[in-house]
């Protein structure tokens, strides 16, 4: 089978730093400190999403109301990517554009949960009480703001991207595999154009609970990712979303769209995380990705102990002297969005001449490894 080169013709990024490539490139260059909110969920930290004018990408207020923050962030970033790729006005092509989204689930109604948990303690019949309160207190449409595939559904509704959508779930690896499978389908001729990306809202008590259950959160005063593992390790969640318009190079050329960069095939894997597994996996993926000697490196390292140290050590061996930029130091840990956001930022950096190619490493806090290679389009 002849494989077709896959190019990126548009990106959309939203994070705690702002929207679009500029604020993220400034941070990449070390000119902008991270934005951290240490108050709202103290002692837990988050990188909060920048305030956005939703109307610019989600014109209907009724649509905005039917979404929770994770969906609005994703729909906004998807719109930026469509704009950048020149697709905004091309309804016909958007109707043929496929979607691969990496996502978890949506926000809960925290007040309702709290009231129910309070009432359950004294309820004579807890089962009946739970039923009664859920039946009367849950907003019917909240379900649709929680369903994993409804980020894709909202992108279809708001932006008219209706080729077909698939939603991958599974934390960091879902984002890597979204890019992997999008690239592979286009390269093999199974699709011509795919909007791929992810969204994550960190400013959620239920997300903090989930990560705190496993002891994965950094609770001390802010410290850069690499400094955390020796002190017990931990990640700081960040709100963010990123989407990329991926196209067959010939498809982009035929519609006169500029190729911003090339996305190479994305190797990913899964190890049991035994001793030495992470390092061996990263070496293999690095080689499969064909990372060049002059590649700049963007690491999605979380700050969680062991895996972060193993990743940084492996990068040190694979690219001696390289100084990887840690995405977590810029925007926090954006979970499913690590790979898409890293790739989108790499596109911007290559486009602006920061490097001829970039390697983005994604090692999940718990599982899943991947390397994304983005290079200058020829």
């Amino acid at each position: 089978m002849t494989l077709r080169p896959v190019v990126v013709t548009g990106t959309g990024i939203v994070s705690s730093l702002g929207e679009g490539p500029a604020p993220h490139l400034a941070a990449l260059d070390g000119h902008v400190p991270p934005r951290v909110d240490a108050e709202r969920f103290a002692p837990w930290l988050v990188h909060p999403a920048v305030a956005l004018d939703w109307d610019r990408q989600i014109p209907k207020r009724s649509d905005q109301r039917q979404m929770e923050a994770w969906q609005r962030l994703g729909v906004y970033a998807a719109g930026l990517a469509l704009d950048a790729a020149g697709l905004r006005q091309d309804g016909g092509l958007k109707a043929r554009t496929h979607l691969i989204v990496a996502a978890g689930g949506g926000e809960r109604d925290y007040a309702v949960d709290g009231q129910i948990l309070t009432g359950l303690r004294d309820a004579a019949d807890p089962g009946a009480f739970l039923n009664e309160r859920l039946m009367s207190d849950l907003r019917p449409t909240l379900f649709l703001a929680q369903l994993s595939n409804l980020l894709a559904g909202n992108i279809a509704i708001v932006h008219g991207v209706t080729g077909a959508s698939r939603t991958f779930m599974g934390e960091e690896a879902a984002g890597t595999d979204a890019l992997r499978i999008a690239e592979a389908r286009i390269a093999a001729g199974q699709a011509d154009i795919i909007l791929a990306g992810a969204s994550y809202n960190a400013e959620r008590p239920d997300s903090l609970v989930l990560f705190e259950l496993g002891g994965y959160l950094w609770k001390r005063p802010f410290a850069p990712v690499a400094e955390r593992p020796p002190r017990g390790g931990g990640l700081i969640l960040g709100s963010g979303a990123a989407f990329l318009v991926l196209e067959a190079a010939e498809h982009a050329a035929s519609r006169g769209a500029e190729a911003l960069a090339r996305l190479h095939p994305v190797p990913s894997g899964r190890t049991r995380r035994g001793p030495g597994d992470v390092r061996a996996s990263l070496r293999r993926l690095w080689s499969e990705a064909g990372i060049g000697r002059d590649a700049a490196i963007l690491s999605g390292a979380t700050g969680v102990a062991d895996v972060t140290e193993a990743e940084l050590a492996a990068i040190g061996e694979l690219a001696p002297g390289a100084r990887p930029v840690l995405l977590g130091d810029l925007v926090g840990h954006v979970l499913e969005a690590v790979a898409p956001l890293g790739a989108a930022l790499a596109v911007a950096a290559i486009r602006e001449g920061r490097a001829p190619e970039m390697a983005v490493t994604i090692l999940g806090h718990r599982r899943g490894e991947g390397v994304v290679r983005v290079a200058a389009a020829r």
């Binding site: 978890g104 948990l117 595939n149 959508s165 599974g170 879902a174 595999d177 093999a188 496993g214 002891g215």
Partner: protein, 511 residues
């Protein structure tokens, strides 16, 4: 060097099914499910797992005979998936135990902390409970396992571990078409040449109070609780919603050439996949049904077939007013007048809507339908809907030779995924297809509908329950016996005018 025998008309590798596994409320395994489905038995019953006081819907097709620890949606879903995959991998006799030679695609329901766990976290709180209390409890480190338990990627990770699949396992959701998407992803990987074998699974064990209430609040569920087995009434005029079900299904898919090379028995082929998004509404289909039509058309075209080739439709058939009407419209638009004589039935009438698993469950049942030459019925079909004048295989199973099945899956969020499965791929006219299966065109009148004449070449294999008529187990693990059923189809119970299928006002938003 691949022979043209194992390539489709576009030169892509043919995708063979070599292993099937299934668990539903009817039982565990193909034999139990096939016996139940063809007997028209319902697995839907009153919910006993949790109190149903105050609920509008108190029934479901829960799987109550499988244990999971701690009992919650993610562990039950993982357990069901594992059981289905064990059956499929054993039948395929592929790889070695714990060493499956290909990737994993698994459709899993969305995961979140469940109420029993939330309550446990709230136990230490004093006064009004807030998430700060839950966070404080989480920080004690006493509930460390729950991070994995309620992470989205855990079920796939554990299944990958158990079966030794290759690479990063993909967990996915396309809502109620998820199971079909897991198969589609597998088909694509084989067609790309990335893998010679894949394990595709759909699973759902999420009948719990909040899940049920969420669907209930969207008016998606049947509220006809008594009798439970009568509630799911797809295509009937008095249908009033779906019934939640649980289950899992797994398919081992292989590059047909690789399967033959290792001497595997090919059970069926996945010939085509079609999908189309719908941006009309979060829960409702475009009124003109165009996305459903496009997905069906694409699946048939991808299979290298024409609409006239479809012998039988395994319907999405949820039993909601909206879904069944739109599905009938979509099928009729693509298959034309002929659709009135093409049998269509809904497994959900018996097992309920297994949601994330449904597309995979129904694909497995479609393969069994092909192999056995018998169509599972749509039960509870007592009041035909004049707006849906289709042959719904009313109430009783029917023998019919089936070459090409269309299996539909539609979901919230504008998800439409259709699969075409086959006994054999369509051969060129000079091929070695069994007599009676070569480029046939069905007559269009329902009254003249006749199944193809069965020949020795196409004698079906059957699954039977252990208590059914004598059977033998073939070396591949398939139970086989001589075909004894009638080969004459009954006339359609509904032979009225074609469906008007115009949207009539607002309906409960359910698909």
């Amino acid at each position: 060097m691949t022979t043209t025998r194992d390539r489709d008309a576009r030169g892509r590798p043919l995708v063979a099914v070599t292993g099937l596994g299934i668990v539903t409320s009817l039982g565990q395994g193909k034999a139990a499910n096939w016996a139940g489905l063809t007997a028209g038995r319902s697995g839907i019953h009153a919910i006993t797992r949790f109190p149903t006081a105050g609920l509008r819907t108190r029934i479901a097709g829960t799987v109550d005979f499988v244990a999971a620890e701690p009992f919650c949606a993610p562990t039950l879903g993982e357990r069901l998936a594992t059981l289905a995959a064990e059956e499929a991998v054993e039948q395929a006799a592929i790889g070695r135990p714990g060493d499956f030679p290909g990737p994993l695609f698994v459709a899993v329901p969305p995961v979140e902390v469940d109420w029993p766990q939330r309550r446990a976290l709230a136990e230490a709180a004093s006064g009004g409970v807030t998430y700060a209390d839950l966070l404080a409890a989480a920080a004690t480190g006493r509930f460390r396992d729950w991070h994995d338990l309620f992470s989205f990627g855990t079920a796939a990770d554990r299944i990958a571990d158990r079966f030794g699949t290759i690479g990063s396992p993909v967990s996915l959701s396309t809502a109620c078409s998820s199971g079909a998407t897991a198969i589609q992803l597998g088909v694509e990987a084989i067609r790309r040449g990335e893998a010679d074998a894949v394990l595709s699974i759909g699973t759902d064990g999420s009948v719990n109070p909040e899940s049920l209430i969420r669907f209930s609040l969207l008016s998606a569920l049947s509220t006809q609780n008594d009798p439970p087995e009568g509630a799911a009434k797809p295509f009937s005029k008095n249908r009033d919603g779906f019934v939640m079900g649980e289950g899992a299904a797994a398919l081992v898919l292989e590059n047909a050439e690789a399967a033959r090379a290792r001497g595997a028995r090919i059970l069926a082929f996945v010939l085509g996949c079609g999908e189309k998004g719908d941006g009309f509404h979060r829960t409702r289909s475009s009124p003109d049904g165009a996305p459903i039509v496009a997905a069906i058309r694409e699946a048939i075209a991808d299979a290298g077939l024409s609409p006239d080739d479809i012998d039988y439709v395994n319907a999405h058939g949820t039993g909601t007013p909206e879904n069944d009407r739109m599905e009938a419209l979509g099928c009729s638009a693509v298959l034309g007048e002929r659709m009135r004589g093409v049998p269509i039935s809904s497994n959900k009438s018996m097992i309920g809507h297994t949601l994330t698993a449904a597309g995979a469950v129904e694909a497995v049942i479609s393969c069994m339908t092909i192999a056995n030459g018998r169509l599972p019925p749509t039960i509870n079909y007592r009041v035909p809907d004049p707006a849906i004048p289709l042959d719904v295989v009313a109430n009783e199973a029917r023998d019919a030779s089936v070459r090409f099945v269309l299996s539909n899956s539609f979901g919230f969020g504008g998800q439409n995924t259709c699969l075409v499965m086959a006994r054999e791929p369509r051969r060129a006219t000079t091929s070695t297809s069994p007599p009676g299966t070569r480029g046939r065109r069905r007559p269009t009148s329902p009254d003249s509908f006749r199944p193809p004449i069965r020949t020795a070449d196409s004698a079906p294999m059957r699954w039977t329950s252990p208590t059914a008529r004598p059977s033998t187990i073939s070396p591949s693990g398939w139970r086989t016996r001589a075909h004894t059923g009638s080969s004459t189809a009954r006339a359609s119970p509904t032979t009225r005018s074609p469906p008007p299928c115009r949207r009539s006002g607002r309906r409960p938003p359910c698909r």
